[in-house]
């Protein structure tokens, strides 16, 4: 991937919006109540270099809401099943730290972040880990790597709403500022809805929402084809 020190990474450009995602895999003990599950920890950062709207310091509301959205997409779509990240029940599991950093903010952050996350996870190669029976310690073999099992491929499509009627797909920052609302639809390859994210904004009828969903399903096919083409073109490490 783009970041050589990460276990998996991807850089996505949607128009001018540029988002990079790096995935680091670390080992941890699973939680007591879910002994066979690993962890996926997404974090979206909007540093001050990406836009004059963001100051440096603790994450603002947009970054936190975006992090929650990404966590929800991973959970709802079941793109990575946490049980697949378990190495030894109750003792050892993988933790995937997914850092999504915006390098250039020109609107439509959520779509770009979801694409970057999906592409980065497809790029991840996990080393094989064996627990030594005698010492009880884990032995990591960096020479033997396996890719992550990605079960579903969610794709997000965002729309900006103007005056309750006009919908613009993939809005730029200027269009977002002038819009009266936004809606993001996340679909998977079976046409199932993983998320209908409409955080307030001007009201939409059920019919208009259905329009958005239909377009989102069409867009899913185009994006999936593009991701598959790019993944196939890069040679594995």
């Amino acid at each position: 991937g783009s970041i050589t020190t990460a276990d998996g990474s991807a850089l996505v450009k949607l128009g001018n919006t540029t988002v990079i995602c790096g995935v680091k895999a670390e080992l941890a003990a699973p939680a007591a109540d879910s002994a066979n599950k690993g962890y996926i920890v997404p974090n979206v950062e909007l540093p001050s270099l990406c836009s004059e709207k963001f100051r440096s310091g603790p994450p603002g509301e947009e970054a936190q809401a975006a992090s929650q959205f990404i966590a929800d997409v991973i959970e709802n779509s079941q793109m990575i099943v946490k049980e697949d990240l378990c190495i030894a029940n109750g003792k050892l599991a993988w933790v995937l730290y997914c850092d999504i950093i915006c390098l250039d903010y020109d609107g439509n952050l959520l779509d770009a972040s979801v694409f970057a996350l999906l592409a980065a996870l497809k790029n991840v190669q996990l080393p094989s880990v064996v627990i030594n029976e005698e010492t009880g310690l884990s032995e990591v073999n960096l020479k033997q790597k396996t890719p992550l099992i990605i079960r579903k491929h969610p794709v997000a499509t965002s729309f900006a709403i103007f005056d309750d009627t006009l919908l613009i797909v993939d809005p730029t920052a200027e269009e977002e500022d002038l819009a009266t609302g936004t809606v993001t639809i996340v679909t998977d390859e079976e046409g199932r809805l993983c998320s209908v994210h409409k955080p307030g904004g001007s009201p939409l009828t059920g019919a208009k929402l259905q329009d958005c969903i239909t377009r989102a399903i069409t867009r899913h096919k185009e994006v999936k084809k593009l991701i598959d083409k790019v993944i196939k073109s890069i040679t594995p490490k």
Partner: protein, 169 residues
């Protein structure tokens, strides 16, 4: 945490869409929501509380809104305003973490998806939408239709409460 921030953003943008802010320039409207107890459908409860508080404050609103949560059962049944137990979304693998208490054999199984909508009072349009779990497009439309019908009951409750409040001096 990030979940509270996400909820705050949803509530704020929903309120911003209905409050006629142009009538109050250079004014800050602060809405403080304190959760006293959470027994499920928390976000729709917050939405209803927010709307009633805005009404109580006498702020000019272009429409009212109400929150309705729908839990989609594994067999396709829709449960409105689910309890915490009914809201547990399971992906079909492993048991959901149930809140402690005696086993509730009468309660339906864990939900496949939980959808929360904020519906406006003028034309029953969707102001806000959040989903947990995944569902098909038809199921989502069914839940939305159910939520729009349920909104009538909630708006009637608003009317009754306000009538009671202003009938005694």
């Amino acid at each position: 945490g990030v979940l509270e921030r996400s909820r705050e953003q949803q509530l704020r943008q929903t309120c911003e869409a209905v409050v006629l802010g142009v009538l109050h320039p250079r004014t800050a409207i602060t809405l403080v929501l304190q959760v006293l107890s959470d027994a499920g459908s928390l976000l729709s409860c917050c939405l209803n509380a927010a709307c009633m508080a805005l009404l109580d404050a006498g702020l000019p609103l272009c429409s009212l809104f109400c929150g309705v949560t729908c839990a989609l059962g594994p067999d396709g049944t829709i449960t409105l305003d689910p309890t915490t137990r009914q809201e547990q979304v399971s992906a079909g693998r492993g048991a959901p973490v149930c809140p402690p208490g005696p086993p509730d054999h009468l309660a339906p199984q864990e939900a496949r998806a939980v959808l929360t909508f904020a519906i406006d009072s003028r034309e029953r349009k969707v102001l806000m939408s959040t989903t947990k779990g995944s569902c098909s497009v038809e199921e989502m439309q069914q839940c939305l239709a159910a939520a729009q019908r349920a909104a009538d009951t909630v708006f009637q409750f608003y009317r009754d409460s306000l009538r009671r409040r202003y009938s005694k001096s």
